[in-house]
Symmetry: C2
Subunit: 410 residues, 2 copies
Amino acid sequence: MKTFETIEGGVCAAKGFKASGVYCAIKENPTKKNDIAMVVSDVMCNAAGVYTQNKVKGAPVIVTKKNLEKSGGKAKAVIVNSKNANTCNADGEEKANEMCRLTADALGIKPEEVIVASTGVIGQILPIEPIAKAVPELVEKLSYTGNVEAATAIMTTDTVKKEYAVKFTVGGKECHLGGMAKGSGMIHPNMATTLNFITTDCAISPEMLQKALSEIVKITYNCLSVDGDQSTNDTCMLMANGLAENPEITEENADFATFKDALYQVMANLTRMLAKDGEGATKLLTCVCSGSPDLDTAIIVAKSVIRSPLFKCAMFGADANWGRVLCAIGYAEADFDINKVDVDLGSKVGKIAVCRNGAGVEFSEEEAKKILLEDEIDILIDLNSGDVSATAWGCDLTYDYVKINGDYRS
Amino acid sequence: MKTFETIEGGVCAAKGFKASGVYCAIKENPTKKNDIAMVVSDVMCNAAGVYTQNKVKGAPVIVTKKNLEKSGGKAKAVIVNSKNANTCNADGEEKANEMCRLTADALGIKPEEVIVASTGVIGQILPIEPIAKAVPELVEKLSYTGNVEAATAIMTTDTVKKEYAVKFTVGGKECHLGGMAKGSGMIHPNMATTLNFITTDCAISPEMLQKALSEIVKITYNCLSVDGDQSTNDTCMLMANGLAENPEITEENADFATFKDALYQVMANLTRMLAKDGEGATKLLTCVCSGSPDLDTAIIVAKSVIRSPLFKCAMFGADANWGRVLCAIGYAEADFDINKVDVDLGSKVGKIAVCRNGAGVEFSEEEAKKILLEDEIDILIDLNSGDVSATAWGCDLTYDYVKINGDYRS
């Protein structure tokens, strides 16, 4: 897989994408942190989306899907708010449609060319008045360097904004691809919601755009687990406006491979940021499962370890409790020989072997402690049964996770 | 389903079963709590077992399965220790076999007629000397009222011993069925292990015994989740010695139904005790999913809610966060109409509707708080799509869970 130069700009890194973010008091907040954002492309985009698999879907998810069907996979703008998920409300779709209409009117485009998303508490009626007031301001403030204002607006209990972008070359043209994401946590915790907006100026057909997004989501966002709960509003949107003027990617060729590598780099790094900033997290856990006979097995094993509450607690305690890794590998629903499994634990200060051929090996507890006291820990699993690998990202389970999510909603 | 009179006696409630427990210092322990137990039947038993599905299996699990194969499903004794799981050790099977040999020699039976189980820290060599010394003492102390000594010996970080027994009538004869269980938690926390030993004097063929056990495990122990981690040593053994002298149950008739009802009552109550005493738990959560088109759907939905870390935290905080229940129902991998789902929350002080037809309804937060401050909470889900129901048991996710499992092993 190729790696590309990282650049600034987040969701505005690609040519022709403007963004803005303002505070409109969807819920009164003394810090006046931005709570609504807009992203607009100068020209029409092909748009691809991946959405929550939860049967309970936020109204904005339903409306965005309908819009893209109606527009034939074209979109020009995104409107997204935090503080209210607009989910499980009787008037949810009506309100989401209204957000699209307001945005479309202000920009002189069609409502179905607008992507809408919301994140925040569920089951509370979304107030439309502050949004109606904010839209003209958002349009006025649209800027090719508005990415930070937008990335801030979608944050909930995220402690840092999440942006990442790269530049790469397709057909002799310099292309850019970047995005912003929000992670798990809310002011009034309700559900961990992940929203992701990625933009590119690379020219690529709707079919290939969707194909790339679906493939890369599988090995990035879908390999992220903060607590195993799957939100009602999870949304990942990818918009391509073609302004890089490369020959449009319309088939699975070398250009498509390059595009996917760039998309992987952006989405994997956003995933990593989301994991590191998981609710209450003190440590980023990165589990790499290699030596797998196939991709699905590697993903299932890596995710099983990342999701194990017992292992997550052990990492919080910096305890080299390899038995819990092996236990989680053992209950992964996949087919491989447990007696071939090796496990190493590592961080930037070193790496130790803790398990060989499915059984424990002697190691220095002192050395292990030193490694695990770091804030980024690698769990390296080799199934020794093939040559495919996958990565899953997560975080430790801490007192603060319980505190954040055990506190009363209001 | 019939309900029967509960009786004292646990694993000794059935005629002809003796038990004992002693402290043999498998690991030095100042409290000298019993750490090894024996259960012996006066006559040969039919024995059925259900074991962990984890690919990593404790050596005792492997040895017990082999023994029962060799003996044709017959067993006369159980030897079980706490403090060491005898798992992931190179000499694990050798040691487990030695435990069977020691027991068999002392009782004058065959090694393959012995069921062996261990629970405790994994990856540490099991010392056989204390066990060799303990076996004669265990045999000497065997008693028809030794159930409490045995139930205490299998406890790890369990805060209370778990026993339950009933009496019922088959073919005009009074039968007894009782058992003991240990739950999730260890002195040096490593994996949550569940061990269960159930005895009965009811005469029942090996095939019907296994059939009853497999069916009832599915709707009791397999519907228990403390943290979603599945141990390497989970074992549930059921022994029937026939001393009640009823006509042997050999087919699916009314007697078999009665036997299963009795087994359900014992196992469901042990499951409930295990959930309530889950690591760090302050609340027992009982989720009943009714109105399901089939049993699997009901089980999957109930377990999905019980397992949700976000919901478990909300219960710790006594927060009527029905959105999290609906979210967990929504990502359950089953087929039903989310828009028909009703949810009530209840406890002994009352019950409130929080969701109707998949959407929130107004409720008194004050009333909700009062209900949720109780230590036994019911989550009542009606899918309104059929007439099958299932129950899952769990507990809240608390600071103490993180503390117990984040602490260093030694």
